[in-house]
């Protein structure tokens, strides 16, 4: 049996650069690798990886395995799994880290079942048990109403990590590392799905993930209109973006792209203003990383007040326009 050692991060690119989640995984992987006194490797697969391999080194990788192939232009499970499976079999890593992203959610379970190992998804915390050299994996369960710690003895130890749960290292372009171009024969006859069309639905303006301020509305708004008026006015004033909890997205009041929560986007702005949101754990899972949470809700018992730093109890129709009006004066004044 092969000896399993080292940490492998399955990286992702975004707009030709290293994706933020990959920098976070490298930050976390570096700590685990140092604890184990083992190496930190990163896989980058795309049609053209370019300078992202150097970025991966600057963020902590010792070796970057670069797989370039025309079939890897967009994430496609049946192609990517061939690359990941082949590299994992070649390297026999102790730990495989992926992001809890569109790609990680799709690829990690397939790969774990194919390799016959176990997987813990959506981890918030990872550490190495010094004695056993096994990975202690902490993840939220019951929609965030509890947390569970899992351990597994099957190799490789596979996990996906929630975005923004880990901090990247400071970028250091003087770090030394090795870029290893790697050839994988991809059998395109094994591809059983075909992307016919890609449709963008992103709202115009600031992207939710990049917005320093998010004004988020919930079921209590009762319909689509307040998102376009009351909430948007406040967001515009603060150069922020409008988001929503799951019910408004499910009801079609706003696009799914605005959905923040366990199964939507995970955000961590400086200021998060939750309006008419009860604060179910499934929602707060998407925003607990925010620096300051402010809640406006007519129910003083709403769970969101347990997460917030400042709150107002009252109807949003009355509270929010007054807040926006007064802020406008204060900012101008």
């Amino acid at each position: 049996m092969a000896e399993y050692k080292d940490i492998l991060v399955c990286g992702e690119l975004a707009d030709g650069k290293l994706a933020p989640i990959t920098a976070e995984l490298l930050g976390c992987g570096r700590k685990l690798a140092d604890d184990l006194k083992e190496g930190l490797f990163c896989l980058l697969a795309s049609d053209a990886v370019g300078a992202a391999s150097k970025e991966a080194i600057a963020f902590g990788a010792d070796k970057v395995y670069v797989v370039e192939h025309a079939a890897l232009k967009e994430y496609q499970a049946d192609c990517y799994i061939q690359v990941a499976e082949s590299l994992v079999k070649e390297l026999s890593p102790r730990v495989v880290l992926m992001g809890q992203t569109s790609m990680g959610r799709d690829l990690a379970p397939r790969l774990a079942f194919r390799l016959g190992t176990s997987l813990t998804t959506d981890c918030l915390d990872l550490s190495i048990d010094r004695e056993t050299k096994l990975l202690t994996q902490t993840r939220p369960v019951y929609g965030g109403n509890a947390q569970a710690i899992f351990v597994s003895e099957l190799m490789p130890l596979m996990v996906t990590v929630r975005s923004k749960a880990m901090s990247p290292l400071e970028r250091d372009d003087s770090r030394k590392g090795e870029v290893i171009p790697t050839k994988v024969d991809i059998d395109t006859s094994k591809v059983r799905t075909k992307i016919l069309e890609t449709v963008k639905e992103e709202a115009v303006g600031i992207k939710l993930e990049d917005a320093p301020v998010i004004v988020c509305g919930g079921r209590g708004l009762g319909g689509p209109e307040p998102f376009q008026t009351t909430l948007k006015e406040l967001a515009d004033l603060l150069h922020g973006a409008v988001g929503a909890s799951r019910p408004p997205a499910d009801n079609g009041w706003v696009s799914e792209a605005l959905h923040i929560g366990l199964t939507g986007k995970i955000v961590a702005p400086d200021i998060y203003i939750a309006i008419a949101i009860s604060g179910a754990s499934q929602h707060t899972a998407g925003c607990t990383g925010s620096k300051h949470i402010i809640a406006i809700n007519k129910d003083p018992e709403a769970n969101i007040f347990r997460e917030a730093e400042f709150g107002v109890v009252g109807k949003y129709e009355e509270v929010v326009p007054a807040l926006t009006g007064k802020l406008k004066k204060l900012i101008a004044g």
Binding site: V141, G143, L196, L327
Partner: protein, 262 residues
Amino acid sequence: MIVCCKQVPDPEAPPAVFKVANNKMTLPPDVKPVIGQYEEFALEAALRIKDTVGGKITALSVGNNFIRDVIKKALAVGGDELILLEDEAFDGGDSWSTANAMAMAIKKIGEYDLIFCGRQSSDWDAGQVGLGVAEILGIPAVTLARRVEVTDGKARVEQVIPDGYHVVEVTLPALIVVTSGLGALRYATLKGIMAAAKKQPVIWKPADIGLEPSQVGAAARRSKLDKLFQPVKEAKCEIVEGDTAAEAGANLAVRLREAKLL
């Protein structure tokens, strides 16, 4: 069509009722179990295909002590058959043992065009079983589907991506993992409820799907639960007040400026 369902504690119950004791989640008896929210979307996806092109829907679930009224909802809304892998031995499974039992049951069912699963269970939220079943059966899978149509032996799926969606075509048989955005599960009609009351679920034990009790449930787990706990949260919210709601809103603006947040 086969729809995989799970009976879970109502995830919409208020957070305060979720209490951990002895590494187990305990809920008061008034919190009723339900079919997981994403499995309800999966059922609806299958029912819409039945509406348009016909077909038979078999609901499949694995566990122990199913509440008949809860799980039979799958029949009441329009499912044709309900198969329960029900035995003490199935208790306490993880993603691996659950997916393996489901896959063995599906092999026994034999013929199918589409398998529908929810994106993640509403209790453990792992999001692995659907893809695991597809891997074991060796069939293609499309995840995060919010619309599914079938034409000419292929399924066309709208797959949610962070900033929009893909239209994906997949050959059949295939497994589809369903997310929200598809629309809520339809209500059961009175006729549906009456018909469901007359039907009995088919019960399979581990031996019926060719597995030993040691190959299912808790005994077959690949990942071990070390600890279940609830992090203590300190409530530290400062409630800003005013004579009217509008005044409180204005006072909040002042307070946020004072605190140099905005």
